[in-house]
């Protein structure tokens, strides 16, 4: 791929963070507003794909030295671990719990174990998308 796309590269440098911030917002907002781990993960992957398009795979690898297959594994561990956690309270697998707490600045906030599960989804989606794109892009 060509690497002299100055305009794309400059724009990417700015928008990348906006997209990633937006994806994190989507991820956390998931339980109350449109969003969630799946969309959040996809959006983050979209940001990385943009980076890939603007630069090349080698550069992106030095910027983000992440082993995406391990990311998939960590994500799955999150999801299964959250499910298993319920077993320790003598509840069926994957029973979620939530509570409301008052946090400074944020006010009344809900805390969900579902967020942990969703973190798993988030990581797996990024891992899978990027593994596929990276392996296909790298070959030959």
């Amino acid at each position: 791929m060509k690497t002299n796309d100055i305009i794309l590269q400059t724009v990417t440098k700015f928008t990348l963070f906006v997209i990633i911030l937006f994806s994190i917002h989507l991820f956390f907002a998931g339980h109350y507003h449109p969003g969630g781990g799946f969309i959040g993960g996809l959006m983050t992957s979209g940001a990385i794909v943009l980076l890939l398009l603007a630069f090349d795979i080698k550069t992106v690898k030095t910027i983000l030295p992440v082993d995406y297959i391990k990311l998939v594994a960590i994500g799955l561990l999150f999801a299964i671990g959250t499910g298993t956690g319920a077993l320790f309270f003598d509840l069926p697998f994957l029973t979620h719990a939530f509570t409301y707490v008052d946090l400074p600045l944020l006010g009344k906030t809900s805390l969900h174990t579902a967020v942990l599960f969703d973190t798993g989804v988030f990581l797996v989606v990024i891992g899978v998308t990027m593994t596929i794109i990276q392996t296909i892009g790298e070959s030959e």
Binding site: G36, G37, L42, I69, L94, V128, T135
Partner: protein, 804 residues
């Protein structure tokens, strides 16, 4: 979960930790960390002797899938306890032996011990579970761990061959047994073994009885290497010697015997059972001992010997079933066979275990197991020689070792079976003692071959890879313990009779006992000048004569053509299956995605149209629809135009852009129908997949003008068909409202039960969290698959050389 459950599962739990121990304590042989477990379990199980000795049993239940009648129920009775003691006792000795046998610098100890523990736990599960389904699960786990252990040296071609063979044969039997278990549960309505035994009369009169019996026996015969399924056991000897001693002689191959013994109360009172079990046993006994004589590899001799001895125990169980037929203890007239079976089970484990360990020592210290190269080792390895003498003489049935006692009882059992006046024994029954005696002569011959060809005669140092010397003490401890037991049980057999034998027999033949009774087992050394003693004398004299003149008559082994051998049949059959499967697969796997899409979509159209017509489900109802706006029509048109244009696109880039247009328009539809989550997902997915297409672009060949895809009527028909079917289903789904939609449940409960406001996400992570969990797992697998296919693909024209 009781302590008993923990005991059974403890090997499996330890198997999880072993790899970590192996990594962090590199300097210490991993076996040392393993050794305490079987030893402690052995002591733990010894404590149960008090309970079972007085006729009691211990039962512990852990609910598992109670709604299907499958609970993890463990039951310790005499029979289960006997096996549990064998598994843990021999297990401890084998682990100790393996510490000196396996070189920690050369072998992958962590995998070896994980497999071994897997087996130990599985085997304990087999012999102690009272639920047939649980038993089956553990049963297959033993086949599986045996497969892994036989193939432990997976760089060797023979190991892989042996592993595959054992897997195919034992799993075939296991599946047959599963069929038997299901049939039995149809008859009795329960999976519990204890309850099934109480309903044995009901089982006996059911039309499925014979079929069930045969399926169970298939499982038992394949596992215990009975003729004609014995062919896997000699090839299983490719496993490391501790494994052969443990799995393929002392424990796993006896699982089939366990099953036959366990099911005796249910099936045994029938001619089919007596004939099949005794017949298969006696034929195996003869064929095994006959084939053992022609072997030149020490381990092969022991393998065929194991086959033969398993046949002997099997035939004894069959003969003992006659006792059930008469329904009384009857002075133990037929019962002696059952006593002999249980007794020989223990004896075989002791002498064969020690012989395998001796073979391992010889292999380890000389570098070969070929009796044509060995000889005169007596002077170099006096202790090993002594151990070999004890083991082989016991195997040959020479006093004062324990093998003599059980062999005598075996003759008694066979003679009494021949006298029986039912099950047509009066016509053909005489064959049993005759075959049994002939087989014993061959047993004598190979036993002598084993010990004298190895340890006496001329020493050929030039044929050996190493200079022979006595084994280190650590390797000798285990066989010494086993050999001492051989002598101990030989001289004081009644040490076992009340503690182990009689409780085990109570479990095999519960119906013969009144409440509180026990079998009175007494094994005596001297019976007076009986026919059995005479038979033993004849075995020894004729055996010595035949052994002396072995080269003169060995020609009979060449008479039997190789092409008719069972191994040959197995190999040919396997090849034929491969060829046929390959042909069938090749006929439809073209390697073109378009062919596969044709299959998938044709099937899709056929099955869905059939269902629609058969259920008369097509409906068209517009009464409850919203008005169509101009916006929707415009979007529809965009989708239609772009999809049709794709068909005529001349370059791939155009097709991708058009496909993207379709995707984004669908996202707009989601926006109109107020599904922001779906719209967002669709948008991002579309973006990412366009990027993916662009990447994959590079690898695709150029479209050449002459290779333009031609119009094909069949494909057009299929694509129109798919569209039509989907449309019909969508219309019908909207028009048929047979029950309340589940969405109302979600509307009500999203906030109440899950504390969320975004229904879609709450469904994803909470209400249907299981789906999501498995979906992301599938995603992960797909990513790994793509990674493997692209990164690890073979270069064309070059096969992976598996033998390197």
């Amino acid at each position: 979960m009781s302590f008993l459950h923990l005991a059974v599962l403890s090997p499996l739990l330890l198997a999880i930790i072993i790899p970590f121990i192996h990594t962090y304590f590199k300097n210490i042989h991993t076996g040392w960390f393993l050794l305490p477990l079987p030893a402690v379990l052995f002591v733990y199980f010894l404590k149960f002797i008090g309970t079972t000795g007085s006729g009691g049993t211990v039962m512990e239940t852990m609910p598992w899938i109670s709604s299907l009648g499958i609970d993890f129920t463990l039951k310790v009775d005499g029979l289960g306890l006997l096996f549990a003691l064998l598994i843990t006792g021999i297990g401890a000795l084998v682990v100790l032996y393996s510490i000196y046998y396996l070189n920690p610098n050369k072998e992958k100890l962590n995998t070896f011990y994980v497999f071994l523990l897997l087996f130990m736990g599985a085997m304990l599960g087999v012999v102690l579970s009272d639920n047939l389904i649980v038993l089956y699960a553990f049963w297959e786990l033993t086949s599986f761990s045996s497969f892994l252990l036989i193939g432990f040296w997976n760089q060797r071609e023979r190991s892989r061959y042996g592993a595959q063979k054992s897997m195919l044969i034992t799993v075939f039997g296991g599946l047959a047994m599963l069929g038997g278990i299901l049939m039995l549960s149809i008859i009795t309505g329960t999976f519990s073994i204890s309850e099934t035994i109480q309903m044995s009369s009901q089982v006996k009169n059911h039309p499925l009885f014979t079929m069930t019996l045969i399926l169970f026996l298939l499982g038992a015969f394949t596992k215990s290497a009975q003729f004609p399924f014995h062919i896997w056991l000699p090839d299983a000897m490719e496993a490391p010697t501790p494994v052969s001693a443990y799995l393929h002689s002392a424990t796993m191959v006896k699982a089939g015997i366990y099953l036959v013994a366990r099911m005796t109360p249910v099936f045994a009172d029938s001619a089919t059972w007596v004939w099949l079990v005794t017949g298969a046993g006696v034929i195996t006994l003869f064929w095994g001992s006959f084939s053992a004589v022609k072997q030149t590899d020490l381990k092969a001799i022991l393998a065929f010997s194991t086959v033969s001895q398993l046949g002997m125990i099997m035939s004894l169980l069959g003969a003992g079933a006659a006792a059930l037929h008469y329904g009384t203890i009857n002075d133990g007239y037929y019962l002696v066979a059952v006593t002999a079976a249980v007794f020989h089970l223990i004896n075989h484990a002791t002498f064969k275990g020690s012989l395998f360990m001796v073979t391992g020592i010889i292999d380890h210290e000389t570098g070969t197991r070929d009796i044509r190269k060995l000889g005169g080792l007596m002077n170099f390895m006096p202790i090993t020689f002594t151990l070999a003498i004890i083991g082989t003489f016991s195997m040959a049935g020479i006093p004062p070792f324990n093998g003599f006692l059980s062999k005598e009882m075996f003759f008694t059992g066979m003679l009494r079976l021949a006298e029986m006046d039912s099950f047509h024994m009066d016509t053909w029954g005489l064959l049993f003692p005759i075959i049994a005696w002939t087989a014993s002569v061959f047993t004598f011959i190979y036993s002598m071959m084993y010990v004298f060809k190895t340890f006496t005669g001329k020493h050929h140092p030039e044929k050996l890879k190493k200079k022979p010397h006595e084994a280190p003490i650590g390797m000798l401890i285990s066989p010494i313990i086993l050999a001492s037991l051989v002598i101990l049980f030989g001289i004081f057999p009644n040490l076992l009779s009340d503690t182990i034998l009689s409780p085990a027999m109570e479990a095999i033949m519960p119906s013969l006992l009144e409440n509180g009774d026990g079998f009175n087992v007494h094994i005596s050394f001297w019976h007076g000048p009986t026919l059995e003693l005479l038979m033993t004398f004849a075995v020894i004299t004729i055996g010595i004569v035949l052994y002396k003149f072995l080269p003169k008559w060995a020609g009979i082994y060449r008479l039997f053509p190789d092409r008719l051998a069972l191994n040959h049949l197995y190999d040919r059959g396997l090849k034929a299956i491969h060829l046929v499967a390959k042909k069938i697969t090749k006929s439809y796997m073209t390697g073109f995605i378009r062919s596969y899409l044709v299959y998938i979509f044709s099937f899709f159209i056929l099955i869905l149209t059939f269902t629609l017509l058969y259920k008369n489900a097509f409906a068209f109802d517009v009464s409850n629809t919203a008005p169509v706006h101009i916006m929707e029509i415009v979007l529809m048109l965009i989708i239609a135009v772009s999809s049709i244009t794709i068909l005529f696109a001349k370059s791939r880039l155009t097709s991708i852009i058009l496909l993207g247009a379709v995707g984004y328009t669908v996202a707009l539809f989601f926006v109109i129908f107020r599904a922001p989550d779906l719209a967002l997902t669709q948008l991002v997915i579309e973006t990412v997949s366009v990027a993916l297409f662009l990447l994959a672009f590079y690898h695709l060949p150029k479209i050449r003008p002459e290779e333009r895809i031609r119009f094909k009527a069949a494909n057009a028909l299929i694509s129109i068909g798919v569209g039509a079917v989907v449309t019909m289903i969508a219309l019908s789904a909207h028009s048929n409202k047979m029950f309340r939609s589940i969405s109302e449940f979600y509307v009500e409960n999203t906030y109440k039960k899950a504390g969320g406001e975004n229904m879609v996400n709450v469904i994803l992570v909470d209400f249907r969290g299981f789906d999501t969990m498995f979906e992301i797992t599938v995603l992960g697998i797909a990513a790994l698959g793509i990674f493997a296919m692209i990164k690890l693909r073979l270069t064309r024209g070059k096969d992976l050389d598996e033998n390197k």
